[in-house]
């Protein structure tokens, strides 16, 4: 089982970005891999509950761990009770944890 850490730093409202990142995560997850999607910077913007065209529920359903940098969330005024289901606030330390754990890390 391989471990992947996809760091989503771009706002997926931008054309093309949502599709590519989501597609990548969806392809890696079912192949018996452990996939973490870590949202940071403007990548957390679509995580707000009610954001249109950006549901993470399907990713959570296939076992993707979806985390959002708590610093980035605070910067953008997104409280933890206003996140979409399936997304958990997390400290950036998780990225270092996953790196030392041997995850293949891909920054988008």
């Amino acid at each position: 089982m391989a471990r992947y850490l996809i760091i989503g730093s771009r706002c997926s409202f931008a054309a093309g970005e949502a599709d590519f990142c989501r597609d990548l995560v969806c392809r890696l997850a079912p192949a018996d891999n452990r996939v973490t999607l870590f949202l940071v910077q403007n990548g957390v913007l679509p995580a707000r509950a009610g954001a249109r065209g950006s549901s993470f529920a399907d990713l959570a359903c296939i076992g993707v761990e979806i985390l959002a940098d708590d610093f980035s969330l605070r910067e953008r005024g997104i409280s933890s009770d206003r996140l979409q289901p399936g997304i958990t606030p997390a400290a950036l330390d998780v990225v270092i944890d996953r790196l030392v754990d041997g995850a293949k890390a891909i920054w988008r």
Binding site: Q41, N42, F71, V95, V100, A105
Partner: protein
């Protein structure tokens, strides 16, 4: 004592134009606080991060003088990270891509920064537990 890990980060962004720089420095901060051995290969614009001739400035829009503005300089952040690494039993090895330095004229870097080449990137990567590349746009 926990086993000391070695991580390499490859950076490309200039000091003040992107949030990626902020996040990269935050990640390096976390790793140095843990006492890890941290390598940074600075490529393209990132070679300006430790440029020693950065200077703070006032903010006329906000009516703040230089002291009041207290402008953060990335060279000071890099220096502080080096100190923190040493204090915590780790190290921060910062390598600037030499050709990128030359074409930008930023050869004056803070103490502790060394000049290198792509060969250094590979050496650092091979000696690391893992590597994170933060490219630019």
């Amino acid at each position: 004592m926990a086993e000391r890990k070695t991580l390499t980060f490859a950076l490309m962004d200039t000091p003040y134009e992107s949030a990626r720089t902020t996040t990269a420095l935050r990640l390096i901060d976390i790793a140095t606080r843990r006492g890890y051995a941290v390598n940074v290969f600075a490529y393209e614009g990132a070679v300006m991060l430790p440029f020693s001739r950065q200077q703070p400035h006032r903010n006329a829009v906000r009516g703040r003088n230089v002291e009041e503005e207290n402008h953060l300089l990335t060279k000071d952040v890099v220096a502080a990270l080096m100190e923190m690494a040493a204090r915590n039993g780790g190290k921060l090895d910062w390598v600037n891509c030499g050709l990128c330095v030359d074409e930008r004229g930023v050869g004056e870097a803070i103490e502790g920064v060394r000049r290198g080449s792509p060969a250094d990137l590979w050496k650092l990567v091979e000696a690391s537990d893992n590597t994170l590349v933060i490219g630019t746009r």
